[in-house]
Each structure stands twice: as structure tokens, then as C-alpha cells.
């Protein structure tokens, strides 16, 4: 049990900075997620917390004690690796017992803890097997078990599910969440998958190029993304982005011009003539006119290019002509940037009962209150 505090933590490599000036606090017992695209520094951050990599600058504190210079074995944290890192020359039992034997626990105690962990993870009948004969899911459980037996101050998980097939991944995801709730141990979980981040985390830190862009509950990240990157990274399908500008107190978009809510007028004056990006979540295009929206929303007629039917959801993709607008610079990882592009595909989430098919004309409504506005240059969310 521990609270982990990061203060201006930086990690430099020769010629590169992997983690830049990161500060946040992971509360005692919290399920904390580090999420970001590959190469954003999230694994480096995890390795620094557990002590496998040194901290170039800043401080890491566990329960108020600075642990920067402590050896990993003095930190008493357990880690689950993406590759599971089971010792191939040891049986499952020996794998589970390894950290306890290093800690010189009495044999009966080792036995008791191994059996307890095996019971929790339902791997009791695998104890005498070697890792190489286990399936991916079983290896994953053994890796979890080896972390569990230690009764550590914190669990650190480095993309523990990314080597599993899709179905098993969802199942293990639920199990990890249940386990963490049951044990109440502080958990730091690294992933590049925003779905895992959203479903598991009490709080999520979004990393990009070694910097923390936003820390918050999954809901806060989804509803109030701090910038373009977070907006594009969180949510699937990704948020739609369109270039935008102010014209005479109204917001002009490639799909039409909107009257904005009262509160935005100050914003409009502040923004002046700067380039803006408007973001709309797919579910905020609606097939029915929003009732009571003031000012009235925008209606647009589009032609469905591609229709994805997923049973509970229907995603309708349509093209928008960007003629006359500057293409805004979007975060690369959102997959939306193609410089010089004159058209952009947008997606709307609709009710499958609407029965829209490819090639159909659809009338969509957009409630202005649901639009996110970003400054194109800095990517910052405008309040």
C-alpha cells in the first residue's frame, strides 16, 4: 500500500529525452493508468518507478520517502511484464516462489503464499508445469501470481494484456479490475490501448512525447479533453476534427455556419482571427433534431460512404469538402492528418434502427453545445 508521488521527473538518454518534467501523484489504493502511443515514454516512467531505470532529474517519492536511489529490491514493488518474463527453467511453483525465496521467507510461509496466489488466480493445477507448455492466458496468470505472492506496496503492469487474443484480453481485463478492487493495492498500469485505459482506470494520465498532457478520470478526459491530442486519442472511433473560424460572431465550419451559445462570445473575441479546430464526437451527430437546444443546431445533409454495423451501434462515414479552409495541424497519431487534403471523412454514430445503408442520404443534426473548440496552433482546448 503506498502513494507514489512524481515531482518533475525527467529521464534523459544521450541525444534524447524520454520523459520530460513529469509530475503527478498516484493515491494509495488507486488504479492508475499511463496511456499513450508507443514511444511516448510510459514504459520508461514505469521502469523509473520500479527502479530499473535511473531518474535523470526530479524526485519519485513513495509514501513521502524519496526512492530515487533505492535498488528495485528495496522498493518492494511487483511488476508484470508484457512478455510475462516467466523463468523458463523453473516450474510454475518455482516461478511463484522465486521472489519469496530471495526474501528468505520460511518454507512453510512460501508454500502457503504460493497456494493462496494460485488459488486466487485458479492456476493450482499448473504448479508443476513449465512455462513453455502453458497457453498465453495461463502464462499471464502466472505472471500476475508472481506479482501477487510478494504482497507488494504497488503493482506495476506493463501492457500485460497486449499479447493475448481479443476475447481473452477482455476477460483478463475484467479479472484484473476485480483483483485490484479486492486487494486494494496501488496499481500503475501502462497501456497504449485507450479502451483499457478507460475501462480500468480510476484515473488516467495521457502521455505524448515524454510529457503528461492530462491527468484525470476517464470521464473527465472524454468530456473535457485538455487538448487536441487527448481529444483525438481518447474515444473510439476518434473525435471528428474540422477546421473552423469566427465570422461575425458565428462559428464557420466546412459543414455549415453555427450560432454559438451565449457564453462563447467572449471566447470569440479572444480568439480573434486565429485558426481554430472544432471537434465533434461521433455520437453528437444525431439523426433527430435536438429538442430545446438554444441556439438551434446545425442540420446537414450527407451521403453515407461507408456504413459499419456493429449490432448495438451503427457508424456512418461521410465525406466533407474542406474547400476554403486551411487544413489544421492535427496530432499525427489520430490518423487524420493528410496535408493538402481537400476532403475529410467524418463519422457519425447512429441508431442501428435507422437502417441507413451505403449511398443513402442522411440528415444529421449537430448541437453547438457539444462542439469542442481547440486553438489550431497550440492544440489547447478553449474553455
Amino acid at each position: 500500500m503506498a502513494a507514489i508521488e512524481l515531482c518533475n521527473v525527467t529521464r534523459r538518454y544521450p541525444g534524447a529525452i524520454a520523459v520530460r518534467d513529469v509530475s503527478f501523484t498516484i493515491h494509495d489504493g488507486e488504479f492508475f493508468i499511463l496511456v499513450g502511443p508507443s514511444g511516448c515514454g510510459k514504459s520508461t516512467l514505469l521502469n523509473m518507478i520500479v527502479g530499473l531505470e535511473s531518474v535523470s532529474a526530479g524526485e519519485i517519492r513513495v509514501d513521502g520517502q524519496v526512492v530515487n536511489d533505492l535498488d528495485p529490491r528495496e522498493r518492494n514493488m511487483a511488476m508484470v511484464f508484457q512478455s510475462y518474463a516467466l523463468y523458463p527453467h523453473m516450474s510454475v511453483r518455482e516461478n511463484l516462489a522465486f521472489p519469496l525465496r530471495l526474501a528468505r521467507l520460511p518454507p512453510q510461509e512460501i508454500d502457503r503464499r504460493v497456494h493462496e496466489a494460485a488459488g486466487i488466480l485458479e492456476i493450482g493445477e499448473l504448479l508443476e508445469r513449465r512455462p513453455r507448455v502453458l497457453s498465453g492466458g495461463q502464462r499471464q496468470r502466472v505472471a500476475m501470481g508472481r506479482a501477487l505472492v510478494r504482497e507488494p506496496r504497488a503493482f506495476l503492469l506493463d501492457e500485460p494484456l497486449s499479447n493475448l487474443d481479443a476475447k481473452l484480453r477482455v476477460q483478463m481485463r475484467t479479472e484484473i479490475a476485480r483483483l485490484q478492487r479486492r486487494l486494494g493495492t496501488t496499481t500503475v498500469y501502462v497501456t497504449h490501448d485507450q479502451t483499457e485505459a478507460m475501462t480500468l482506470g480510476d484515473r488516467v494520465a495521457v502521455l505524448h512525447k515524454g510529457e503528461v498532457l492530462q491527468v484525470g478520470s476517464p470521464r473527465a478526459l472524454y468530456e473535457r479533453p485538455a487538448n487536441l491530442f487527448v481529444a483525438g486519442f481518447i474515444g473510439a472511433p476518434a473525435m471528428n476534427f474540422l477546421p473552423a473560424r469566427w465570422t461575425g460572431g458565428r462559428l464557420e465550419l466546412p459543414i455549415g455556419t453555427l450560432t454559438v451559445p451565449e457564453g462563447w462570445h467572449g471566447l470569440a473575441r479572444a480568439a480573434g482571427s486565429r485558426a481554430l479546430v472544432a471537434g465533434v464526437r461521433p455520437e453528437h451527430f444525431s439523426a433527430v433534431r435536438p429538442t430545446g437546444a438554444v441556439p438551434a443546431g446545425l442540420a446537414l445533409d450527407v451521403q453515407a460512404d461507408v456504413v459499419e454495423w456493429l449490432g448495438a451501434d451503427l457508424f456512418v462515414y461521410f465525406d466533407v469538402n474542406l474547400e476554403g479552409f486551411e487544413s489544421p495541424a492535427l496530432p499525427e497519431e489520430s490518423g487524420l492528418v493528410r496535408p493538402g487534403q481537400r476532403r475529410r471523412a467524418l463519422v457519425a454514430r447512429m441508431d442501428p434502427a435507422s437502417g441507413v445503408r451505403e449511398g443513402d442520404s442522411v440528415r444529421l443534426y449537430l448541437d453547438p453545445a457539444q462542439i469542442h473548440l481547440f486553438e489550431a496552433a497550440s492544440g489547447a482546448h478553449l474553455p
Binding site: P72, R73, A78, M79, A85, L86, Y87, P88, F98, R132
Partner: protein
């Protein structure tokens, strides 16, 4: 035989015959020596391949002479110690080279390779003088040192290849599980590199066991003379008798443990250890 149906048979015949030739070529001298060692002294010059009569006299003679058992003991001791030293140092060096980022890492590997290519005969003279000054001449250490030096590069390269195949996550997992760097190395990395350690050990042992050049130049008495050098000093039972039979018997005695060891370890290496051991 050139039509389509006969092709695979021709091919099998070709490979079979080829293998037979190679095996015969390699084993013929060994068989010859074995045959010589079993012939009675009078038959040694009888121009026959197969002995007409069998005798173990030569073996008895070799072991009765105090020279040969002493040499055999020197050979075993020196080869084992040189192997231990080269493999132990090689393991530490290879692990550092594979896992640590330090300036001059590539240089060390290149230098090791350069040492391996260095012709040993060119340093025999200086080494002889140095060893005499330092008191290492005609001692075990005087042979162990050059054997270790000349096999260390081989040992480092072999072990580096094996260490490189062990996922780095395993070292890290062991460290997080509470192991000191040394514990992680000894309890996780070394067992996994066991096939590599075995192959390196075999190579070093063979080098030391078979060496004639250093052994003949740097020893003078039974204190450190190894078997290959001792065989060269064999004399016949009388001043006028050729020692051919004794030499053959001693050669067989020296060769058999090597063949046994290679067969034994080869089985171990090929059968058990490499198969999926590293890829957990």
C-alpha cells in the same frame, strides 16, 4: 537413373556415399592408431592394417612408465582449470558486453577477435623468456595462462551469442523480484545460457587438451608436461626399438575421453537444453 522416378534414389545414394567417404576419411587415422596400439611389438612393421594378434602390452607399458600417468594428470588438471577460468571470465565479460552500454564495447569484441586470430607461435619465444624470468616456466600456471588467453575470445563470443538470446525482461523481472544483480545472473541467466556455457567449455577444453605447441615449449619435466608433449618424449623399450606401439596406445588414451565428452555433451546440447528453453 536420370529419369524423374529415379532422381530421389540417386540423390540419397549420392549423399549416403558422400557421408561415408567423409566419415571414413576422418576415422581412418583413428582406426589405424587403434590397430597399431593393439599389435604385438614384433608385428608393428608388418604392413597390415588389421592386427593378426591382439595384445594390451603397449597400454600396460605406457602406464608403467611413470612419465605418462603424470602427464595425463597434468593434462586433465591444466585443461580443467583453463576451462573453468576461461568460461567464468568469458561469462562475466560476455554478459557485460551484451547487457551494458559502455564506451568501447565494440572495441572489446573486436580486440577479442583479433587476439583469437593472433598466431600463437609468434609469441612462444618471448613467452619462454618471460616465463623463465617470472618463474612460470614448467608450472601449471604457465600453461593455464596462455590457454585461457587464447580461448577467452572464443568463449566470450560464444557466450555473448547465447546471452543475447535471453530476453532482457528476465534480468529485469529477477531484479524486481528482489534479486541482486549477481543473484539475477547466477540464478536466472546462467542456467538459461547452460547450452552456451557447455559449448564454450568444450571448445576451451579441446584447445587446452590438444595443444602441443605451448606444452612442448613451456615445460621441461613431469611437473607440468601434458600428455601430447609427453608422447613426443617416448622412447622404445630399448635404445634401438621404435616407440611406435607406446605412442599409439598413449594417443588412444588421450583421444578417447575427448570423443566421449563431445558425444555426451552433444547429446545434451542438441536434445534438451536448446529446445524452447529460452523462448518461454
Amino acid at each position: 537413373m536420370t529419369d524423374g522416378t529415379g532422381h530421389s534414389r540417386t540423390e540419397r545414394l549420392f549423399w549416403g556415399a558422400g557421408s561415408a567417404v567423409v566419415v571414413a576419411y576422418a576415422l581412418l587415422p583413428v582406426a589405424w592408431i587403434l590397430a597399431l596400439s593393439l599389435k604385438p611389438a614384433a608385428d608393428l612393421g608388418d604392413n597390415r592394417f588389421f592386427p593378426r594378434a591382439f595384445t594390451l602390452d603397449h597400454y600396460a607399458a605406457v602406464f608403467h612408465d611413470p612419465q605418462f600417468p603424470a602427464a595425463l594428470w597434468n593434462s586433465v588438471g591444466i585443461a580443467v582449470l583453463a576451462t573453468l577460468a576461461a568460461v567464468l571470465l568469458g561469462m562475466l565479460a560476455a554478459y557485460a558486453i551484451v547487457r551494458l552500454e559502455f564506451p568501447g564495447r565494440r572495441l572489446i569484441l573486436a580486440a577479442a577477435l583479433a587476439i583469437a586470430m593472433f598466431p600463437p607461435v609468434s609469441i612462444i619465444g618471448p613467452l619462454f623468456n618471460m616465463w623463465r624470468t617470472l618463474g612460470l616456466y614448467d608450472t601449471w600456471a604457465g600453461l593455464i595462462l596462455p590457454y585461457m588467453t587464447f580461448t577467452l575470445p572464443l568463449s566470450i563470443w560464444t557466450l555473448a551469442v547465447f546471452f543475447r538470446e535471453i530476453p532482457w525482461d528476465l534480468d529485469k523481472a529477477a531484479r524486481v523480484d528482489g534479486a541482486t544483480p549477481l543473484q539475477a545472473f547466477v540464478r536466472v541467466i546462467v542456467p538459461l545460457a547452460a547450452p552456451g556455457v557447455a559449448s564454450a567449455a568444450i571448445l576451451v577444453f579441446l584447445f587446452a587438451w590438444n595443444d602441443f605447441l605451448f606444452a612442448i615449449s613451456l615445460t621441461s619435466t613431469n611437473a607440468a608436461r601434458t600428455a601430447p608433449a609427453a608422447i613426443a618424449f617416448f622412447t622404445g623399450s630399448s635404445r634401438f626399438a621404435q616407440p611406435t606401439g607406446s605412442i599409439a596406445a598413449a594417443s588412444v588414451v588421450v583421444t578417447v575421453p575427448v570423443i566421449l565428452m563431445v558425444l555426451l555433451f552433444q547429446r545434451r546440447i542438441v536434445a534438451g537444453l536448446t529446445a524452447g528453453a529460452v523462448k518461454g
